[in-house]
Symmetry: C2
Subunit: 376 residues, 2 copies
Amino acid sequence: MSSDLSGLRAQIDRIDGELIQLLAQRARMTAAVGEHKSAHGLPLYVPERETELLAARREAAAAAQVSPDLVEDVLRRVMRESYATQDARFPATGDLSRPVVIVGGHGAVGRCLGTFFARSGYPLRTLEKDDWGHAREALADAALVLVAVPIDRTCAVIRALPELPADCVLADVTSIKAAPLQAMLDRHAGPVVGLHPMFGPDVGNLAKQVIVVCHGRGQPQYRWLLEQMAVWGAVLRDESPVQHDRAMVLIQAMRHFTSMAYGAFLQRQGADLQELLRLSSPIYRLELAMVGRLFAQSPALYADIIMAAAHLPELLGDYRQTLDDLLQLVRDGQRDALIERFHDVQGYFGELAPALLRESSELLRKAHDSRDPVRG
Amino acid sequence: MSSDLSGLRAQIDRIDGELIQLLAQRARMTAAVGEHKSAHGLPLYVPERETELLAARREAAAAAQVSPDLVEDVLRRVMRESYATQDARFPATGDLSRPVVIVGGHGAVGRCLGTFFARSGYPLRTLEKDDWGHAREALADAALVLVAVPIDRTCAVIRALPELPADCVLADVTSIKAAPLQAMLDRHAGPVVGLHPMFGPDVGNLAKQVIVVCHGRGQPQYRWLLEQMAVWGAVLRDESPVQHDRAMVLIQAMRHFTSMAYGAFLQRQGADLQELLRLSSPIYRLELAMVGRLFAQSPALYADIIMAAAHLPELLGDYRQTLDDLLQLVRDGQRDALIERFHDVQGYFGELAPALLRESSELLRKAHDSRDPVRG
């Protein structure tokens, strides 16, 4: 009996060995594809090619009686690795004879974006607070001035900029857009565009990352910049600055604020976090992680996102009122009314609710794959 | 130039074809391992074997200059598939000559657990509301009576049970534990144990799923039941009923309530959910999914979890107070005090915050793998 098992396990060992060799071969091939693309100025990430390839592999999997979902998941994970290693060089879409100047280029976001400009061969300059005395010279021949300073200083820094060359592109990467865009339009008569990169500075590459674009003035003159970000793999989304800011208060500021409040609430309760984790199934572990992860990040960054959000106090007032209304139903033991209210919101979410359930459940299965029950 | 690229792509096609064949072979081997284990009464899931295997594969990956993380992620995904297909039969640890009776066996949780008892060969009976007239006969020779009815009826159903055989195990699977356990101890003089399976009824198998165990009376007589659940792959966690219930209000009821309130708040704002998703990076998409997924599920189930949570109104009062205190800082523009408060909670989370950040970021990378930017 145990020899049967040993025999089967030896076979599995052999298969896994071959699997690793295949992954090594595949990595060499995709690296060669990346070099070829760099050399010929082709975009790194081509969504259609990826979609086609996965559809073909799913068919092949079904034919071999292997789960198509399994094959797709494995290949997507392998592709992530190849994007991460393919990004050595990127072709440039702009003029390489004039510098890109990142104001606040030593900050996390500025450094991250600077790396990409440098990889595409742009002469790169950074301008920090201490360099302000030399700002005029630093910006005199700039092709692009990119403002990447903390959110609470963005508008002041824009207003303090010296005169830029008439054809220089002025852009910012702040997470609010209406006020900085207006400040840029006021300061500079040339091409102006507001950008909001929707990712943290720790992403290794920009494949599939979203950047929101708020058009200012002179789009033909900054088209090269948008094309450049697309070459790096980013997905661009046009949005009006006012719409963007309204949405971001709901997407970012309200979530950060309520998560911060939940963390402070757990502290106030003296909850034993290790015990909560020990008893948590993957879904509740993730709920706690969404709160806990906030407190591993920069307090000043989150304070600034929260303080800069227009109308946040009014929105929080509405949220509190919603909370109170529901709580009253619980206090009064009105189970039917609570269910009625639930149905009501269900109608608002519509088809999106089951779609988000499926999506997050699949993610939880992936979280569960990696879970080591010994660690809890 | 395009012929170079075609050549490389043909190689990638060939490699992927071989990969699919290897996955098919591996599935046949693990299915054979599963059959062997079933036939010899060996447990399906052996954490130590999994840990050893992964450590060996990581070394082999490093030697082949492939990312060890990539190989581990791929193999964990492959293992999930093999657990899902290995579970055809499970050896039994209890007496197969007397029936397991699931009260509420037609409900989602009852059906899910019933499948596992049936697969291990136990004679299975279910008892529903309409069958109550025959309860005495149905339970007369039971080895185990498992109460799996909705949370608001659990205690009443337990009290209404007829006399059970003296050595029959009485257990429940409700998500609160103190009151049902007391009701069971009052009703039955024999072995009693409270269980809380920490997973939804849609899990395909129990490998690594957590079940909380609250010991009642006569542990030697229900040891077979705990062993049985371990054979199915579950991880058992002992907990006192009071501790369990306190933790669950924080883990489940408060989170469900605040998520429900956030969904109702978004509706009240008339927020365009599709636009929010279009602008969301993976982390914010997940935040929205954690709210939206709630509304794809049973309103009655969530209402009952919320209504059954002792002290929920007091806890929500504390949460509201925390929210108000923080909001006052925002209203007063007290940035430094807000940062101070943030640091304070940071101290409470300690080392857990960066650990949860790492864990959830890795999960977000996996979410990002599967993201199709065309769909948004």
